[in-house]
Symmetry: C2
Subunit: 150 residues, 2 copies
């Protein structure tokens, strides 16, 4: 059981942008710092911009930056926004539409939904701000030179 | 975010066996009733037998049956037993062992672990017995003829 790589990368992008406030970062820089695929990051960044998590500015001094304060980016909401499915099992096959034979009388979906809700409720308690308490350490891990504004 | 097909099928096997107590069911019958791959079910059944969830008897009247009462099969424990990973993100790549660049200073793993724990705590509240309250309906869905012992 895992979150998609999509959500994983979305979290990495948001953490990265949060630790250098008021600074634009290109997708290329982001990919290099994390050592991950620029190709995948482009899609993630596009989606995060569409959802108003980040601003994307084109041009010579363009790049990505947070569109909201870290404390206003809730982790539960983010996961709901980036995960394609939050159903723990596929009662209906996504490809051919076939249904599990016991779908109509099965009590499992309700129990699994309650489990997912409990998970999301725990994530709802946290914001992006909780992930960057050690912003200095995070910048050092990513080898980022940064002078915070006073 | 989904459970593996492995866990999905394990749940289907256990539900199936629970609704016809004291009856052996072959993997072939199980696969036919659900309309799913016998090949995958063989592996799942083998694993469930190894973990003492079910008994597997060979021979002419052989087949699978529950090794414990449905109320003694906890859903949280089952998911812990059948899911390969309960880490919501891969901080370390499974294939090449490479680590996320911010692994040492990232607070996300602890928060995600708390979310998984909340999910499992919810599943811990339920047993297989909770899934078969409508045993008659489930048998009808699977087109199983069954005469319960008095």
């Amino acid at each position: 059981m895992q979150l998609t790589r999509y959500t994983d990368y979305a979290l990495r992008v948001l953490i990265r942008l949060a630790i250098t406030p008021d600074t634009r970062v290109t997708v290329r820089e982001l990919a290099q710092e994390y050592g991950i695929s620029q190709h995948h990051l482009v899609k993630v960044a596009h989606h995060l911009a569409k959802l108003d998590y980040i601003l994307s500015t084109k041009g010579r001094n363009g790049g990505l930056e947070l569109a909201r304060k870290p404390e206003d980016i809730n982790l539960g909401t983010l996961v709901r926004d980036t995960e394609r499915s939050l159903q723990l099992v596929n009662c209906v096959d996504e490809k051919d539409g076939s249904q599990c034979a016991i779908l109509d009388s099965c009590r499992l979906p309700d129990i699994l939904q309650a489990a997912v809700d409990a998970m999301l409720a725990e994530l709802d308690r946290h914001s992006l701000a909780d992930l960057i308490h050690d912003a200095g350490d995070l910048r050092r891990s990513l080898k980022i030179a940064f002078q915070a504004a006073d």
